[in-house]
Each structure stands twice: as C-alpha cells, then as structure tokens.
C-alpha cells in the first residue's frame, strides 16, 4: 500500500506500464487524511464508459425440485436414451459435492439477445489492444489478430495474478484499466 504514496513511475504516467495493482483500490485502509485526498492514481485512472454492476453470488436453487417447464423428454439431438448400464452420469462428479445445475423451473420468457451495431468490431479492437499490451509486458507472444486464444487467456491469468487483480482470464474493466486501455 505504501507504494501508492510514491510518485507514479514516469513510464506509467506516460502510459507504458500497467498500473500497479496496489495503486488501484480507491479506498485506502490507512487512517488519517490519506483516505480523503484523491490519489494521483484515482485522478489518472481511466474512466470506462460503463460501470460494472456488482455480481451477486448465485445460489444453487435447491428448492426447485423439478424442471416442470420442460416435458418428459430425456433425449436430445440424436441423443440415445440412456441404456440401463449407463444410468450414471458419464462425467465423474468432483469429490467435493458440486452444486448441481438446476435449470429454471419457470416458463421461458422472450429475451432477445441485443446485438449492438459495431459491437463485434469494437470487441476485436479492444482484444487487439490487450494483445499488444500483454506482448509489451511479456505476457503474450502470439498474433495480434483481435481474437481470443488460449495463450492470450493464459497471459491474462498470469498478468492478473502478478498485479493482484481478480484472476479471471477474461478482459475485465480493472484489467483494461491496469493496461491503460480505454473501452469507449
């Protein structure tokens, strides 16, 4: 946390380094005046156009006992009805009892997937910037093609761990901020 008090490395100020993770929290835990003054990091922090809504944890809905909206079909696309011998699920359940996926017991309602014009293009552009940034910091050595790939995912995981960000392997707003990429 003390790192935050020191001047921003000039490279960082010039936008050439990912912001140190310690620089990111907006609520310092130290007492005194420090908490009230806006840090340089807050001032320089990128404003992404969006706000990230808190992601609530999901309960496993154990109360939903059945899947009443779906009728009795057990098959699927060319599914073979389970033979008696394969009545047990094919994949082995983890040793710690995992929460079960319980499909919603409600009737489906219309929920069109909104595709915003230019979104896919914009996404590619951002991926390209992330690829370039990770390449610059030695977390990636693949193509700069705007496409997500396993190496880029691995690079994100390592970079997020190194900078104490939430390790997701995905392009989160805090990752973009750390890499000084604006999603506009």
């Amino acid at each position: 946390m003390k790192m935050r008090l020191f001047a921003i490395p000039s490279l960082l100020a010039a936008g050439f380094l990912p912001a140190n993770a310690q620089a990111l929290p907006t609520k310092p835990t130290l007492g005194g005046d420090l908490g009230k003054t806006k840090s340089l990091f807050d001032i320089f922090k990128l404003d992404h156009l969006y706000t990230l809504a808190g992601h609530s944890s999901h309960s496993s809905h154990s109360s939903h006992s059945s899947h009443s909206s779906h009728r009795s079909s057990t098959g699927g696309y060319s599914y073979i009805p389970p033979a008696p011998s394969e009545s047990a699920p094919l994949y082995s359940a983890p040793s710690t009892p995992a929460p079960t996926y319980q499909a919603p017991a409600i009737a489906p309602v219309p929920a069109p997937l909104k595709t915003l014009p230019g979104n896919a293009y914009k996404f590619k552009e951002i991926v390209q910037e992330v690829q370039f940034a990770l390449l610059a910091f030695g977390y990636y050595s693949g193509e700069i093609d705007g496409e997500m790939n396993p190496e880029l995912r691995a690079g994100l995981l390592r970079m997020q761990a190194d900078y104490s960000l939430k390790v997701t392997g995905t392009i989160t707003p805090e990752t973009l901020t750390a890499l000084r990429i604006e999603a506009r």
């Binding site: 999901h58 899947h67 779906h70 489906p108 909104k114 595709t115 991926v127 992330v130 396993p150 995905t170």
Partner: protein, 369 residues
C-alpha cells in the same frame, strides 16, 4: 469447420437450455442488466475450461474459447458431457432439426432419414425465445410436418412472443390438409417461408426422385392450399441428371400454374448422405451445361417470379447469372478450395460444401480475377 457440438460439463440429471454470456471488454455495461434465468455468465477462463455461472448453478465449457460462443444458446446433455449449439449468435445459419423421420426417400438426400425420434419442441421453444434480435431460424429434418401439431403450436407461440423473429421451414409439403387452415391461420404468414421441393412437372420423374408414388399429385394439391392460405412458398428444385432436361418444362409449369410462389430456387447437389452414394449417376455439371438452367431461370423471372441459384460456386456460372447466386451454403459446412486462392469474388461466394469431392465435380472452375 465450425463445431455445432461442444464439450460441456454440468452436474445435472437432465438436458437443459442455457445461453452463454461473456460480458468481456466493451460488453461490461450489459452485465448490469438483469440476467435472464436461462443465462450463464462467464466467470473465469483457464486451461481447464471456461466456467460460467447462472441462476441454475455452474457449468464448464471446454475446447472452445468463450468469445466464439458468446450469446450462443446451448442444449446441454449432461449425461454425455456435450452441448448442441442450437443458436450460434454470430451466425445467419441456425437450424433446428425437428426430427430425422421422413416419409420420402429422395435420391440425393443429404440427411438420410432415421426411425428414432425424440420430441425436442420444448427445448427449441426455449432456445428460440433467447435468439438474437431479428434472427431468422431454419426448421429442418427429416420431415418437420410429421409433427405438424407441435410445429404449428411452436411457430405460433414463438412468433407471438418475439415479433422480431422469422422462420424458414423446409418441408416436403406432403402433410398439409384443409383441416390445418385454422392452426396455420394463427401463424404470422409474413414471417414464415416454407421451402418446398418440386423436382419436375412430370409426376413420374418427381415421384421417382422422392421415392414415393403419388407424391407429386399430393404436393400440387398442397401447393394450391398454401396459395389459398397466403403462405410464402420457396419452391426448391435440386438440379440433377434425371430432371435437368425437364427443367425448362418445369419453369413453364411454374410460370403458368404456380405464379403465387415467392421464390424459385434451382439448387446444386450436396455430396453427402444419399447424395454421396448416388453422386455419379445424379450430379449434373452445370458449369458445362448451364444453358438449360439459364433459360429456365430467365423464363420464370420474365414472368415476374423471383428465381435464384442456390449452392452454385460463382466461378461455375456465366458472368450474367452470378448476381442470382447468393452465398447459400451454411457457414459451418462451407469450404473454399485451392483454386479459390486469389479469387476476386471469394468474399461474396458461398464456396463449396465442405465434402464436395475434389476430382469429380465441375469441369470449369477457378479463381476469377
């Protein structure tokens, strides 16, 4: 080739429908919207797979990057650890396979019928309601109208719930009846196109191709019924040696007797299923003998009826007909050949079916500069 089935781990005891949402990069703002109960949001991606969490719990997708399946609607079969991508959000070629049963056995069938049938309509309905805005969903088989009661109900309810969606239904047209008037009347006819095959004006030729006596007569009756119902019909004629000579006769028949159709589609064969088995006797090289095709198309178009060429690689067509050949081969089974390298028309060409044989096909093809 784009995979239509992917690996999914989910600890559930029966199949379920789920829509995957990534919310990465520029899509974070959408995350603040309330998620649909059928949505699962991406939490983490690593070498072990992509973890999603929805209201129903966690699922894991393996072997494909989340950005490729973002917005896709899956039918997960937890027992087998697989999922069918019922709707691929980035594709214009989503088709629900209603059944593999069929009452015709067409010589060039690309999807030979099977007896086994499982009713998936509830899943299809759930999936359709989660489709991207403005999508057109294909309905195919087998013969979907073997289950016409469910089909009509499905179309009616989805079209009512989603005024932005439309459907393209492939059917042999054998099973419509006067008694369906009521059920079909409840389906918004402006948003359903019925793709119905007619191979010849000659009953003998048509019946032989579809492997069913009396099919031609029944079909003409039902086309008349479709006309009275105001249904949009896309008449489909696969071009083959047995019917190529009669194509002009069929064109005249369409112009005189079936002018109410919305589109006539002359189609090239697909080298798979029975089509592969019978390729040598059926494939008609339209790059050599295009004359009869061109004249037939011209005749029908001259009567103000729309006519198109489906599944024809652009280089196999005379220049003046290329604008009538949209890229109809579905993205997931489309391939380009070595000869396509450097072709100036590649971007708007449907290419070849993935399984088109390299050596016995069109005699004239190649990159167009």
């Amino acid at each position: 080739m784009i995979p239509l089935r992917i690996k999914v781990e989910a600890n559930a005891d029966r199949p379920f429908v789920v829509r995957l949402r990534s919310f990465e990069a520029n899509a974070w703002e959408q995350r603040s919207e309330a998620l649909n109960p059928f949505d699962a949001a991406l939490e983490r991606v690593g070498p072990e797979g992509a973890d999603y969490v929805g209201e129903g719990g966690p699922i894991r997708v393996l072997g494909i990057d989340p950005f490729k399946v973002d917005g896709d609607v899956l039918l997960v079969n937890p027992r087998r650890g697989t999922a069918d991508r019922l709707i691929r959000s980035a594709s214009q070629h989503n088709t629900f396979l209603i059944t593999e049963r069929c009452d015709q056995v067409c010589l060039m069938c690309s999807q030979p019928p099977k007896k086994h049938h499982v009713d998936l309509f509830p899943y299809f309905e759930t999936a359709a309601l989660l489709a991207p805005e403005g999508a057109t969903i294909g309905i195919s088989g087998g013969e979907p109208t073997l289950f016409k009661a469910q089909l009509f109900r499905f179309l009616q309810s989805v079209l009512e719930a989603r005024p932005d969606l439309s459907f393209h239904v492939l059917t042999n047209g054998q099973h419509f009846e006067e008694a369906d008037r009521d059920a079909m009347g409840h389906i918004d006819r402006g948003r359903v196109v019925w793709g119905i095959p007619l191979y010849s004006h000659n009953p003998g030729v048509h019946d032989e191709i579809v492997g069913k006596a009396g099919a031609h007569a029944r079909l003409l009756e039902n086309l008349a019924l479709m006309c009275r119902l105001g249904a949009q019909v896309e008449l489909r004629t696969v071009l083959m040696r047995p019917n190529a000579d009669g194509l002009l006769g069929l064109a005249r028949f369409i112009a005189s007797t079936l002018p109410f159709i919305r589109t006539w589609a002359v189609m090239q064969m697909e080298n798979i299923g029975y089509g592969r088995m019978n390729w040598k006797t059926l494939f008609y090289d339209s790059s050599e003998g295009f004359d009869v095709v061109g004249r037939s198309i011209d005749l029908v178009r001259s009567r103000g009826i729309d006519a198109w060429l489906y599944n024809f690689p652009l280089c196999t067509l005379p220049e003046g007909y290329r604008h009538l050949a949209p890229a109809t081969i579905s993205d997931w089974k489309r391939a380009y050949r070595e000869e396509c390298n450097g072709c100036s028309l590649k971007a708007r060409c449907g290419g070849f079916f993935e399984w088109h044989p390299p050596n016995h096909g069109y005699s004239n093809l190649g990159a167009i500069q």
